[in-house]
Symmetry: C2
Subunit: 206 residues, 2 copies
């Protein structure tokens, strides 16, 4: 008997070609690349305008060679003060961060910085839709956790000393995102249902 790697087990044959390519990880794609591809899909289909912000760089020295473009010769990475992704969906402001881990029982809290949490609080206060997309590479599972639930965990004295947000908490408070082919991480499905009030009971989704 063949031992298929997880997620690559043979599927029932069918005419739907999409069922053969439902997992981005199987195609050597990182979670971030899958999100970017998803956002491109949303953009080209007129469903949302979501962009990843450029990495903030502190530029120290730039050369201006004659007859060629400016060349940065000394620069350093800076820590992002906001989340990585933002944009607009049906007039709503969307703001999120995407993180992945190899751990199977939780998402390490070191993935989130104080100023990012503060930014999320500011966005929520201003009526924006804010969340994190959490991907567990070993489990091949992806969840959407609303910023309010991340912040609740982060600021709660009983839990903030923990090193990780337990997967159990994420499963209970968050929403499972079924990976698909197009788009690969269809997080807007969750947002659409949340906006429509279809998710009164989170229990329905697990």
């Amino acid at each position: 008997m063949v031992n298929y790697p997880q997620g690559l087990k043979p599927r029932p044959s069918g005419n739907e070609t999409t069922t053969k390519t439902t997992n981005f990880a199987n195609r050597g794609m990182s979670f971030e690349a899958a999100i970017n591809t998803t956002n491109r899909y949303y953009l080209t289909h007129g469903l949302a305008v979501i962009h990843k912000k450029p990495t903030p760089i502190q530029i120290v020295k730039v050369d201006y060679p004659k007859r060629s473009q400016a060349k940065i010769v000394e620069a350093y990475f800076r820590q992002a003060s906001t989340t990585d992704y933002s944009g607009v969906y049906k007039g709503h402001y969307l703001d999120f961060e995407a993180k992945e881990t190899r751990q199977k029982t939780g998402m390490p809290l070191k993935n989130f910085h104080d100023h990012q949490i503060k930014h999320m609080e500011q966005v929520l206060k201003q009526g924006g839709i804010c969340f994190v997309l959490l991907h567990f590479t070993s489990l091949q599972e992806t969840y959407l956790l609303l910023a309010a639930d991340l912040i609740a965990f982060y600021v709660e004295p009983a839990t903030r000393t923990k090193r990780s947000i337990p997967l159990d908490y994420i499963k209970k408070q968050g929403y499972f995102i079924k990976q698909a082919a197009f788009p690969q991480v269809p997080y807007l499905d969750i947002i659409e249902k949340l906006l429509g009030g279809d998710y009164d009971s989170k229990e329905n989704d697990h």
Copy 2:
């Protein structure tokens, strides 16, 4: 008689200290710096969460010296594919670009790129609030022009061949922003009125 530089004419004395510092240009501040200061004001006062996107950089080579942080030793500036500023105001997605010119009769069109115009179209289609802030340094005047009116000018065959958007057009279609001390470029006042429908007749403001 003293010849005061424009905008520095003596004001009627009074108790309002703010009236003495109403113009950012007089304090050697660039328009971009004034926008950033304005956004910080809005952020710290809980009025809006608007950030400037980092400059997109194409990183070619990074050194990883032992015991010190990664150092970028070769990188190039890339053209931004979106606008510079975005964020959330009362749940609404806000998206804008800020440009300044020394010209007195119009804003050179070369300040806007095709892909930025396309981005603005996408944002509008998705229900976002999109505009440009145009500052005329010589005139010390600032206008908010809605993206729809910029695009209309940009795509119109009769006007797209022009090198500049005439100040007359901007005055007629846009909204004058009265510079102030705190915040310096209070563009949200215009947005608030537009959202409230207070600006049915643009004529009222000029």
